[in-house]
């Protein structure tokens, strides 16, 4: 590893240093706002260095990392998301008390794990990034140790994520057995000369990888943990799971898939098609029966991962840019939606979760309810929001490969989805029965942090929904995979 290599991965360096600094500062001087400030500073500096280092891309840094525009696109997305989650967490934990500063250390390590995933070009770095992300997440989910819900969720997450990591590891091992290498680039070359398309080890290995990553992405039928963990975890952590962990895992899956051109494996392709259809249908149908807003959003995120797979399965050049756009829109929107839940939770109740907590919110807090409406409409794919362009992109990808099963399931899923998004919206605009408690505020700084984050998400969602051209052009030019 040369100095130039270290320079290339400067954002990683900054994040690593940031983790240590924040940890040390907490050890000597415990202060919530200061910790938040340092966290945001770390993220900002890391984000800044994406641009100078971006000038010398792409570059292979040791066999482990390939730093290219794709990696930095996701890196930037994850950093922005992490900053948003940090603001939300500040508002949330300020109200909930207890020891709160270490949360930001976990947040930084988890984000670093996600960035590593997006840049990994080797099974080792893939696994490293994934574990860094998952283990930190486990700590974040159970962070409020005195409450039963988060603890239960953390335990569930720990067991299932451990199981899925084991399966993934086994899959990686099988592929290593078949091809004798763990590096993406070398795998491509080996596959090109050897006829391993129907090799059972190869296929089983791919299948296990699909299972392992399917767990992380909560695709049907590996989705069972999702609603429980989403509901049990503190709202900002739910926002983090729904965005950072999904985007990072999807990024590495897509990179891996496109590089080895796994579309050729028709069996795996078929399995993924079935998984996509099952995710869209099950996610949407199960969401219909929920009364908890977090569970509705959890099932909706399962459905959205299904939509994302539709874009993913488009074999031509559309796939990568469609997935990249969809993920950006999805991450912003989910962050906004869970952000609203988080901000409302931070006032005076444990979690603003039951649908009844949201009754008549619009007439008490019009701005928060307005932002929530925008996010729900974006999830439903209504014009003027990022979700609309994203759904359009996913549909376009599906139509371009003429896979009508996927396309029509997407259409049917969206129609079903409307029903539960509208249920929340109906509640938001219902005539309030009595003045609820969610109007009270206790701390100005926390309120400002939450409001700032929410406003930023709302503006971003509307902006890339109305004028998506710059983002699309950037994605098309900068983030193609070879």
């Amino acid at each position: 590893m040369t100095l130039a290599d270290l320079y290339t991965i400067l954002p990683f360096d900054v994040m690593t240093v940031g983790v240590v600094v924040v940890m040390l500062v907490i050890a000597f001087y415990r202060h919530h706002a200061l910790t938040l400030g340092l966290t945001l500073l770390t993220i900002a500096v890391a984000f800044y260095w994406l641009f100078p280092t971006g000038a010398i891309l792409p570059r292979q840094v040791t066999p482990l990392f390939i730093i290219d525009a794709y990696a930095w696109y996701y890196g930037g997305m994850l950093l922005v998301t992490a900053a948003g989650v940090a603001l939300l967490a500040y508002a949330y934990f300020h109200e909930h008390g207890g020891v709160r500063e270490e949360f930001y250390v976990l947040l930084l390590t988890a984000t670093l794990g996600g960035m590593v995933l997006a840049a990994s070009s080797h099974f080792a770095s893939l696994f490293l990034g994934l574990e860094l992300l998952s283990v930190s997440l486990f700590g974040m989910v159970g962070y409020t140790v005195r409450r039963a819900g988060p603890l239960e969720a953390a335990l569930k997450y720990l067991i299932l994520t451990g199981l899925s990591s084991a399966l993934l590891l086994f899959g990686l091992a099988l592929i290593y057995v078949t091809l004798g290498t763990m590096q993406f680039g070398v795998i491509v070359r080996v596959l090109a000369v050897s006829n391993t398309l129907n090799d059972p080890y190869m296929l089983i290995g791919l299948a296990l990888i699909v299972v392992g990553l399917g767990f992380k992405l909560s695709l049907v039928p590996f989705h069972m943990w999702t609603p429980d963990v989403y509901q049990g975890a503190p709202a900002p952590v739910t926002a983090f799971i729904a965005t950072v962990s999904k985007a990072a895992v999807f990024a590495v899956l897509l990179r891996y898939w496109v590089e080895i051109d796994a579309y050729r494996f028709s069996t795996v392709y078929l399995v993924l098609t079935i998984i996509a259809i099952a995710s869209m249908l099950a996610g949407n149908l199960l969401a219909l029966m929920q009364h908890s807003v977090k569970r509705i959003l959890a099932y909706s995120s399962i459905a959205h991962l299904g939509y994302l797979l539709v874009a993913f399965l488009a074999t031509d050049g559309q796939a990568v840019s469609a997935v990249n756009y969809y993920l950006a829109a999805y991450v912003l929107t989910s962050l906004g939606a869970f952000g609203v839940v988080s901000v409302l939770s931070s006032s005076d109740r444990d979690e603003a979760d039951d649908l009844n907590d949201y009754r008549g919110l619009f007439w008490r807090r019009p701005l928060t309810a307005g932002i929530f409406t925008a996010m729900l409409l974006s999830l439903a794919g209504i014009p003027f929001t990022a979700g609309f362009i994203a759904k359009f992109y996913a549909l376009a990808a599906g139509v371009s490969i003429a896979s009508w099963w996927l396309v029509f399931t997407l259409v049917a899923g969206s129609a079903i989805g409307l029903f539960y998004y509208l249920r929340i919206i109906v509640a938001l605009y219902a005539t309030p029965a009595a003045v609820g408690g969610t109007g009270r505020r206790t701390h100005a700084g926390a309120a400002v942090a939450g409001a700032l984050a929410l406003a930023a998400f709302a503006v971003a969602v509307v902006w890339i929904g109305v004028y998506p051209d710059p983002l699309i052009r950037f994605i098309q030019q900068a983030t193609t995979l070879t």
């Binding site: 139509v399 259409v411 051209d469 699309i472």
Partner: protein
Amino acid sequence: MLLAWLLIAPAAGGILAWIAAPYGKQWARWISLAAMLADLAIAILLWMRGGPAIDIGPQGGWLTQLQLPWIPSLGISFHLALDGLSLLMVLLTAILGVASVLISWRDIDERVGFFHFNLLWSIAGALGVFLALDLFLFFFFWELMLVPMYFLISIWGHENRTYAAIKFFIFTQASGLLMLVSILALVFVHHGSSGVYTFDYFSLLGTPMNWWTSIWLMLGFFIAFIVKLPAFPFHVWLPDAHTEAPTAGSVILAGVLLKTGAYGLIRFVGPLFPDAAHWFSFIAMLLGVIGILYGAFLAFAQTDFKRLVAYSSISHLGFVLLGIFAFNAIALQGAVMQMVAHGISTGALFMLVGVLQERLHTRDMREMGGLWQAVPRIGAVTLFFVLASLGLPGLGNFVGEFLVLLGSWPANLALTVVGACGLVVSVIYSLAIMKRVFFGPRSGTGILADMGVREFTVMAPMIVILVLLGFYPQPLFDILQPMLGGVLPP
């Protein structure tokens, strides 16, 4: 640039009204009224200016256009253009927009700002639909007008509003997605033959494709449009939505939103897929005739005044569907005339239901009766619009229905004959309204206020328009004439 102002006026007016409402409800109302009057003024200006058609594409008769880049990386531009058909629809929308603001003046007293925001934005969305010449933009507006309408129904509606609003939204949204799939497939087919990604209407015209592709794509558009129209068997959302919506919502829904379906059939289905549409015309005309009769029969069976008017809409729009798919100039002129006249007459009937409901607090016709003595002016105005609705010669609706039947005669004799029977049924249910509501023994007691100045100001222009259309429809045909050739198959 005038075209952009057509959209900016209601959009900006809606936002301003929302902002201004906390400072006084009257502000919201006056701002909305001003915005809609501005729209009406622009529409009239565009009509008066007329002028020679500009040459911007394969179809003739375009009066003006506006094209700005929007998402060039996907071949999408902000392309608006206006021809005779668009102009008529814009005029209709502006007139009903003014009327709906006026009719809500005292009707809506809660959350006035947000109400006017939604009203004006759904109008803006509908105007966009009538002007958009980029298929993506068209779909954008198509979806855009739904959300505010959903809020209008679900917040200010009557007893069963949540159910009706969700049903409306899901029906129209799901069918809209089918259309989006068709649009995308069309774009990819076009890309396959030309190598260019574009959503522009003119570029996509005449895209070569094989027979079955064109049938499937045509069906995607067709279903989206006849759900909105609505035609049998996709009409089930309409009675609920119309009945539960507040008066202004019903007026915009019946007068404007339903017309977007018919407009789409004329603008897109025929020209984009001429052969497929022609092949399909029998089934479409059959659906139209079923709608005429079925809607009329169901209308007669209703006891709820508003529901009756809603079902009569299905019947009237059956004529529109019949006329469009007869594919000749006379029938098409009739269909457009029917669209305009139905918008005015049904809009007025919904307002009259609202007027009565405000006084009686019921829409149930079993609890009405003998109202002519109590409110003679309301009775007289209702009689006028009921007669218009049943197709009395001398009023606009007659011209429309007559031309549709005349034009569809050569296209399909049997269907025309059956469809003409609908006229008889419509006489029955229309006169039943008068009998049940205004004649017979008086059921309630007490003094009711007769029609006031504000209400009459809304009604009077609509009466004038219907009479003018009935006696001298030529200006409408003159506007329409240049564009007819472009949308009819050769």
